[in-house]
């Protein structure tokens, strides 16, 4: 069941998905996504997850 519905199309109009229920990131979240130091740790974390998956899932 889709959580983000398509807007009810009216004749001639384009049926665009209603994204108003999608969570909008806060200013703090956007800052964190660009903070070089914090992102470096996320970089290490993401790579370790890839490696875990290689070990667990590629057998």
């Amino acid at each position: 069941m889709s959580q983000l519905s398509m807007s009810a199309p009216t004749p001639g109009a384009e049926p665009i998905a209603d994204l108003s229920k999608a969570p909008l990131p806060t200013a703090r979240t956007l800052r964190v996504r660009r903070n070089v130091a914090l992102q470096f740790f996320r970089f290490l974390s993401f790579n370790s997850r890839i490696m875990r998956m290689v070990v667990k899932g590629h057998k």
Partner: protein, 484 residues
């Protein structure tokens, strides 16, 4: 002495060839047949399509690599497989036609003891009238297409800079397309570029997709464990669309493209049209047009290949409803039906069914993403089959097959959302397994390993993968230590 033939030099075929050469002594031959002279790191075509990289950054010639590694290379396309040989020799054979300019038009019959079909996709632009570089839409499926896409995009940006509002549509050009991730990436790279050029306010950017919900990605979406709550890839993806002000049209099957309009049908059967000034639409994939013949020359194409052109392997192809699909339906060894010395890997194997729930409009139009089988899984399949063949050659024909089911293996999908070492961004996802297994996991996947993150680090990961995989594909020192 054994002769191993690999058809295709994409991620799967090239990986298989390199591992075979590493695992087998020089008394055995490994030969690659590919119509292309170059290897292409396709995930970075996105960046070529927005001008952040040139063609030279994503391709390199195959011949010098194969010459250095002792791998035979024919720049040619395979046209027919003869798994039982012909009236002269019972050994399996493949008919090829050269595409190398100096031998164009010549053909040859190559014999094999072991065959890997890794021929990749046929880009079926013809499936939708007006789609493709010869029609009215751009593509990023090849490096050359991506170069053209960037040129068209720059023309659009020039018009925006002149004050003319423009509508840019990026997405899927048919109801049965796969590779939604590529369209997703291109959408947000275009958004990033428009912002960098200072023209985003005049541009309307629309993502037009066959996915019934955002975040489906052809894998039926994902459930993430985030901050102590379970959330969906739909909400997570929708968040990015909302933040970047990208509009989305879901569950769409494009029926026709003209110079100014895209016509499409929705899952509810309604018909619509959207005007466009620039469009990049991914085509549906089909199998390469390979024929198959028995020793007497009778056509057995239907025995080896599904109607889609993909090769039938050890999957459960019994037609059954979505609710009865299981992880066990998916192939494990990739051995072709009826021939234990032939395999199909990467896009070349016929999937047993979609991963996403299949849907039809009331008009009977199938609007369902095809299952992705590129990138990480593709490389793993290539290596797995290479190891099976090496085992058979070294230990005899009874050596057990290695396995690599997409219902067991994981994958990372790093979808770029803009470049720049400090300003870049990407939606980075991991999923384990690729094909959901509801008997093992309540959400279909391991929530500890199935995650989605957005941020600068995702761009660094994508950039790192670009350089790592090109290094690996060039078979430089220690290449085999880099995982698939």
């Amino acid at each position: 002495m054994a002769e191993v033939l690999v058809l295709g030099a994409g991620v799967s075929g090239h990986t298989a060839a390199l591992h075979l050469r590493r695992l087998l002594g020089r008394q055995h031959t490994v030969t690659v047949v590919s119509p292309n002279a170059n290897w292409n790191w396709i995930p970075s075509n996105i960046w070529v399509g927005v001008g952040d990289m040139g063609k030279k950054d994503v391709v390199f010639p195959l011949a010098p690599i194969y010459a250095r590694k002792g791998i035979g290379f024919r720049q040619a396309k395979a046209v027919a497989i003869r798994p039982s040989g012909d009236d002269e020799d019972a050994k399996g054979a493949v008919d090829i036609e050269y595409t190398e300019p100096s031998r164009a038009g010549q053909s040859e019959r190559l014999r094999y003891d072991y065959l890997i079909n890794a021929t990749g996709p046929k880009l079926r632009f013809e499936a939708t009238e007006g789609m493709g570089p010869d029609g009215f839409t751009a593509s990023v499926c090849t490096a050359d297409h991506a170069v053209e896409a960037n040129e068209k995009l720059r023309e659009t940006i020039a018009k925006l800079k002149a004050g003319q509002p423009q509508t840019l549509v990026v997405g899927m050009g048919h109801g049965t397309c796969t590779c939604e991730g590529a369209a997703f990436e291109y959408t947000f790279n275009v958004d990033h570029l428009l912002r960098a050029e200072g023209v985003r306010d005049l541009a309307r950017l629309v993502y037009l997709t066959n996915e019934a919900a955002l975040g489906d990605f052809g894998v039926d979406g994902m459930v993430f464990d985030q901050s102590g709550f379970q959330t969906t890839s739909e909400l997570w993806t929708g968040s990015l669309f909302r933040e970047r002000d990208v509009e989305a049209i879901l569950g769409a099957h494009v029926t026709k493209v003209t110079a100014t309009e895209i016509h499409y049908e929705l899952l509810d059967g309604s018909l619509h049209t959207i005007a466009h000034d620039f469009a990049m639409l991914i085509p549906p994939f089909g199998g390469q047009p390979l024929k198959a013949y028995d020793a007497e020359g009778n056509d057995i194409t239907g025995e080896l290949f599904a109607p889609s052109g993909f090769m039938k392997v050890d999957a459960n192809y019994t037609a059954k409803p979505y609710e009865e699909w299981t992880a066990d339906d998916w192939p494990k060894t990739y051995a072709a039906v009826g021939y234990d010395n032939v395999w199909a890997v990467g896009i070349a194997f016929a999937p047993p069914h979609q991963i996403s729930r299949p849907r039809k409009s009331p008009n009977g139009t199938m609007i369902a993403p095809a299952p992705p089988r590129t990138g990480m899984p593709s490389g793993v399949m290539g290596k797995t089959v290479a190891m099976t063949i090496a085992d058979r050659i070294k230990n005899g024909p009874s050596a057990p097959s290695r396995t690599a089911s997409m219902a067991r293996m994981g994958a990372a999908c790093v979808a770029s959302a803009g470049t720049g070492l400090t300003k870049g961004s990407a939606a980075a996802m991991t999923m384990l397994p690729v094909v959901p297994d509801y008997q093992r996991y309540p959400t279909g996947r391991d929530v500890r390993e199935t995650r989605g993150e957005i941020g600068l680090h995702g761009h660094w990961v994508k950039l790192m993968l670009h350089y790592l995989f090109i290094y690996k594909a060039k078979a430089r020192l220690g290449w085999q230590l880099i995982p698939e």
